[in-house]
């Protein structure tokens, strides 16, 4: 009996370790952002629609907003655009765009053709702002609270499911505790 105890113990231990590994494995291909729970990176970038204007992160403090990183070269961005338009129409919180390493004329044509869901679009030609946000593939969407803290990040096309299950509950829970 005793001679089976040690291998059995080792096996149980292995199952436990692998089980924990599988349970905690992040969704394949999605990398957890170290930004969650930290202040959103500050930025001051030219506006796409109004070259004379500068979009500043300080202006956004004090209310919730969604920060959406996109580009006309990005196929998935087209796929999520309808959802973005619905978010824009819902009027729950403003949508701020970051046009990442894109051509301004093409980006403007894209918004003219598909509709513009954004309250403001900041232009990041050099890609520096995107790096500050830890962006590694568009589209990426960040939820930022009124204190300017990043509370959630979604990688890939924004879906209705993400909107109703991840974003809306966070915003409304905060509204409920305040009132």
């Amino acid at each position: 009996m005793n001679r089976f105890l040690l291998p059995l113990g080792a096996f149980v231990l292995l199952v436990l370790v692998l089980g924990i590994g599988i349970r905690h494995a992040p969704e394949k291909g999605v990398i957890a952002s170290p930004l969650i729970g930290k202040p959103a990176p500050p930025f001051a970038l030219p506006s796409l629609t109004d070259p004379a204007r500068v979009v500043r992160s300080e202006e956004l403090k004090g209310h919730w907003y969604l920060f959406n990183v996109w580009g006309t070269w990005c196929g998935e961005c087209r796929a999520e655009h309808d959802m973005l338009l619905q978010v824009g129409r819902a009027g729950v919180l403003p949508l701020i765009g970051l046009d990442w390493k894109d051509d301004d004329a093409q980006a403007l044509a894209w918004l003219a053709q598909l509709g513009n869901p954004y309250q403001a679009v900041a232009v990041d030609r050099s890609g520096r702002a995107a790096i500050d946000w830890g962006v590694y593939g568009a589209p990426e969407t960040f939820l930022v609270n009124p204190q300017g803290i990043v509370v959630y990040k979604h990688v890939g096309a924004l879906t209705r499911e993400t909107w109703t299950r991840e974003i809306l509950p966070r915003v409304s829970a905060a509204a409920a505790t305040r009132s």
């Binding site: 990398i31 952002s33 170290p34 930004l35 050099s126 890609g127 790096i131 500050d132 830890g134 590694y136």
Partner: protein
């Protein structure tokens, strides 16, 4: 590099299909050789977040080029290797570091091999001991191997 050596390298990587290596993804040449050496080492131990199994040094994608630019600028600004690593990890997480940092969360990476070695030593010690006691109590005459 001599001409023949260069030809050897080119044929070598052509044969291995390492096209990116031959074309040279990264043409960076920093003025100071010591800085250049640190730059090459750092870009090889930082992950390209878009292609994930390639280092910044080997990746042809845009984001890798932007991140290499960051490494370059920070080294030229006098930042230490560790400062560059921390800057990257603050934005992209520890995942960007091919060489994990030592912390309480990663301590098992270093501890596990030692622990496994100790377990192995304990098991083999017990096996050897149980064989020794077996022989001591064995009263059967030992048979000669291949006896005549």
């Amino acid at each position: 590099m001599t001409r023949s050596a260069r030809v050897a390298v080119l044929t070598g990587c052509a044969a291995l299909g390492l096209a990116s290596l031959c074309r040279g993804v990264d043409p960076t040449q920093l003025p100071d050789p010591a800085l250049q050496a640190r730059y090459v080492a750092l870009t090889h131990e930082l992950r390209c977040m878009q292609c994930q199994n390639e280092s910044l040094a080997d990746s042809p994608v845009d984001l890798a080029a932007d991140l290499r630019r960051q490494v370059r600028e920070q080294l030229l600004a006098g930042k230490s290797d560790d400062e560059v690593r921390s800057w990257m990890a603050a934005r992209y997480g520890d995942f960007i570091l091919f060489r994990p940092r030592y912390s309480w969360r990663t301590a098992w990476l270093w501890g596990a091999p030692v622990a496994l070695l100790l377990v192995g030593a304990l098991v083999s010690w017990r096996v050897v001991r149980s064989r020794a006691t077996l022989l001591a109590t064995d009263r059967e005459p030992v048979e000669e191997d291949g006896g005549s």
